[in-house]
Amino acid sequence: AQSVTQLDSQVPVFEEAPVELRCNYSSSVSVYLFWYVQYPNQGLQLLLKYLSGSTLVKGINGFEAEFNKSQTSFHLRKPSVHISDTAEYFCAVSRDRDDKIIFGKGTRLHILP
């Protein structure tokens, strides 16, 4: 079975500062990894995904994530955040592209002015 651990429930960061949201996963098989963003009172939007290939994945809105198989991590980074990045971020894993997705509990990114 797969599981996802998001190490921080909330991350406060000043505007224009860099941010890293941490994610570790557990699985006995190869997995696909995702980061989703959820703005207040909205559904889920895919930020980026790792299916195979390069371990550095670039997504939308300037976000990127690095797959580290040895550390079973998939941390999300952005070099400079904006107030519009205020949202809940979910790390997720699945065994296949259309298999059930297992989500972490989420990290709330709070941008300070």
């Binding site: 996802v4 889920l44 895919l46 997720a92 259309d98 059930k100 989500f103 972490g104 509990k105």
Partner: protein
């Protein structure tokens, strides 16, 4: 091209009632998955439908049931509603024949049980 659509947007029910939520998949997608997102939590997988059959099921009681129609749209039914069923219900669609595509999520239906 419309993405995944869900109806209704919001719904208020009382304990013991039954509810039906609807989902239309993205064009070209034939697989529909349902997730429940309680307040402050990550989404949890309920079940997945493919070729009008339930293909996978998460850890949800039999009060949660579903259906998929020949046009690939899907319904989620919840019987004997409990207060704890209050949540955002998300539908996602996908296609197993795609080599790079993954699941697309709809905007969700927010269910409040009073």
């Amino acid at each position: 091209d419309a993405g995944v659509t869900q109806s209704p947007t919001h719904l208020i029910k009382t304990r013991g009632q039954q509810v039906t939520l609807r989902c239309s998949p993205k064009s070209g997608h034939d697989t529909v998955s349902w997730y429940q997102q309680a307040l402050g939590q990550g989404p949890q997988f309920i079940f997945q439908y493919y070729e009008e059959e339930e293909r996978q099921r998460g850890n949800f009681p039999d009060r949660f049931s579903g259906h998929q129609f020949p046009n690939y749209s899907s319904e989620l039914n919840v019987n004997a509603l409990l207060l704890g069923d209050s949540a955002l219900y998300l539908c996602a669609s996908s296609s197993p024949t795609s080599s790079t595509d993954t699941q697309y999520f709809g905007p969700g239906t927010r269910l409040t049980v009073l």
